[in-house]
Symmetry: C2
Subunit: 472 residues, 2 copies
Amino acid sequence: MTRYQHLASLLAERIEQGLYRHGEKLPSVRSLSLEHGVSISTVQQAYQVLENQQLIVPRPRSGYFVAPRKMQPPEPAMTRPVQRPVEVTQWDEVMTLLDGRSDKNLLTFGGGAPDISHPSLKPLWREMSRVVQHNLQEVFSYDDLAGRQELREQIARLMLDGGANITADELIITSGCHNALSVALLAVCKPGDIVAVESPCYYGTMQLLRSFDIKAIEIPTDSQTGISVEALELALEQWPIKGVILVPNCNNPLGFIMPEPRKRAVLALAQRHDIVIFEDDIYGELATDYPRPRTINSYDIDGRVVLCSSFTKTLAPGLRVGWIAPGRYRERVLQMKYAASGTNVPATQLAVAAFIRDGHYHRHLRRMRLHYQRQMEIYTCWVREYFPCGICVTRPKGGFMLWIELPESVDMVCVARQLTRLKIRVAPGSLFSASGKYRNCLRINCALPTSERHQQALKQVGEALHHAMEES
Amino acid sequence: MTRYQHLASLLAERIEQGLYRHGEKLPSVRSLSLEHGVSISTVQQAYQVLENQQLIVPRPRSGYFVAPRKMQPPEPAMTRPVQRPVEVTQWDEVMTLLDGRSDKNLLTFGGGAPDISHPSLKPLWREMSRVVQHNLQEVFSYDDLAGRQELREQIARLMLDGGANITADELIITSGCHNALSVALLAVCKPGDIVAVESPCYYGTMQLLRSFDIKAIEIPTDSQTGISVEALELALEQWPIKGVILVPNCNNPLGFIMPEPRKRAVLALAQRHDIVIFEDDIYGELATDYPRPRTINSYDIDGRVVLCSSFTKTLAPGLRVGWIAPGRYRERVLQMKYAASGTNVPATQLAVAAFIRDGHYHRHLRRMRLHYQRQMEIYTCWVREYFPCGICVTRPKGGFMLWIELPESVDMVCVARQLTRLKIRVAPGSLFSASGKYRNCLRINCALPTSERHQQALKQVGEALHHAMEES
């Protein structure tokens, strides 16, 4: 971090903490330069950064002022999907999103990649090199089917933070959270089964259901508190539902954390109707508030909550290290892991285990929680600035995704297609529904840099939206 | 390699090439010491190694002689499995075999691990370190769904050796060959389908069928020429078979290479009955003779031969790098890869691509082909020496597996259980059949070292077999 970036983030923190109030004048360039022992131009650069982030505004001949608190756009209301089991489609649209991953000219606001450029991740690079140099026998041999013991021990310890008391022997390592969920679904469900999902629901999850011929029933979900227990109960009474997939902590795409009473209520409902809960906790460690929220799995008493997670969002996707706490389904999950994906790469598992063991993981998490929070604030500012009026925007409690609801008339699928020509890729909301909802929504990945290039790109998205609204 | 090992392998080569004939006297210790400029004790150690390998025999006061050529035990006859579709079971037995992988006190003749200690593999370790240090962005990011382009290009080039003309864009990287086959099966088959297999058939493949609720029909197979085309045709006329899984090159477990006319005959049959051929080529590169045998895929004209392979046996299992040439099923295979296993680890892919690009792969292959050939000869000697009379042993054309048929009365499942107590694990033949055949057979992995410890262990297996025959 350069000197001016450091100063900018210090000032941003003070504004956030209310030390400088909205509308208040900020210290002069000269006095800040003296206070921090930096050059005048460093202070000017820092102020420029904050101005770009719309945290401060310059007034000619008076200096800089903290930007007035703008009206936050409202949050989206409870969703109202079609409440009957449907077959998932839209593979082609998802494939288009996946396809752009390695194209460096493409700005992919629609993807789910985390920020892997942070210095606190450096020890992981070192561990990877060390593992390859010193554990050759292990690195090149077959892994145990359940995964490396030393990693499972570290994960068992991490899971205590989410309230779960699970031993290393109960855990099974997978090739990421997506793979964990896929193995869990294969272990529990058969083709033709019905599984309930939050609505909107992450498109990758929906594609799993599609591939395994499982029908989805979308349940109304509140953007601040999560799935409607009443609506889920109604669905359970009407349909032979096998399980429900939930992302209760830092939901993807809505960003909510389900309140604890609701977590318990959903579990009680699952027990009453004897269904399985597939809990996706991939963003759970990235909750803004510390300590992190509890998992539904931590309340489980009869092994019906299968918890799936990974280090894809907290560390890096290229590691391909995830895990399952399979509850009562351990044997079936092992079988399906063997069949669907086989054993995993030992090298990345050993590196992650060492990274956690040496205390780097929690340090990195602390940084990233703050970092993503600030990123989401900046992106929210830009959205407010560049997007049309009359939109709803989520206020995520963690993770790094924003969900934006535009007026009904906007067709994001069309807009997304136009944006592809500008080398910008967004995820239209329709990908998050099996029944054609949310065509007027989009999800934005705030883990992308807040560089001028990204700001300009988001401005272009805004312009395309304005244009779409004028046309409709 | 130490000096005496080097000398031993030189002498072994000369014996093999016929420079020293069977029964002929070898040079004296003194003259060899002078010829090679090594100490007397080095020559003595080298002769000791060859004696242990039963290549030479000492005669008191006369020196060393090349061992007389022993009668080779006969090869197993054509197998006769039950010819109707059956459900695969035996997960527990397979799980027991998998479980022992990381127990260093266990000698696992029953596993499929290759020898990863050879010096020609060293550049791969270096490439791994280099990749981690210099390609951080790629190592930590999401992989393309189809896998790294630079690796697919290298594989496309390798596949020319097997006669196949496939572009990098047609290939899909997987997490090993087992995963390739699993994705291929998921892409083509539905639960309840019937798939034909060679008999005996690798137990991992059978477990895939079991997990995906696919029935297996075992087809009579000759230990020297492969699956019976007539029997397959008969089965195709009787049952609605979706496809056939074949390991035509260096078959696991029988070690045969299917003659080219038979490969073409099976393909013609598949075309006539419109079925898919799943070709498992994992051992194909390890054929003893060079150039390597052609794949059935190389004769394919309408994309019905889905070729699955990996670097698990040729390089190392811990890499988890395999591939599919999916023919007409590319789109479905990509979908099922996304669903079943997700994207792969970029680090190992990049390391393998560099290893091949720099010419290390072919050098390593040349070494390993010779190495495994010698290993199989030594293990065959030991089997002949320690096992009861009246057995049949395969004479593999490549790979590193021996298949041994004992008298009908021997129950290998029982013997295997007894051997577990001695910390020795073997793969009883029954794992290779869905209909309870081959209980009197076993498969031996000759990639294990030929150390005294392993010799003793194989002797113990022999003793257990003698004991079992006396009892029965």
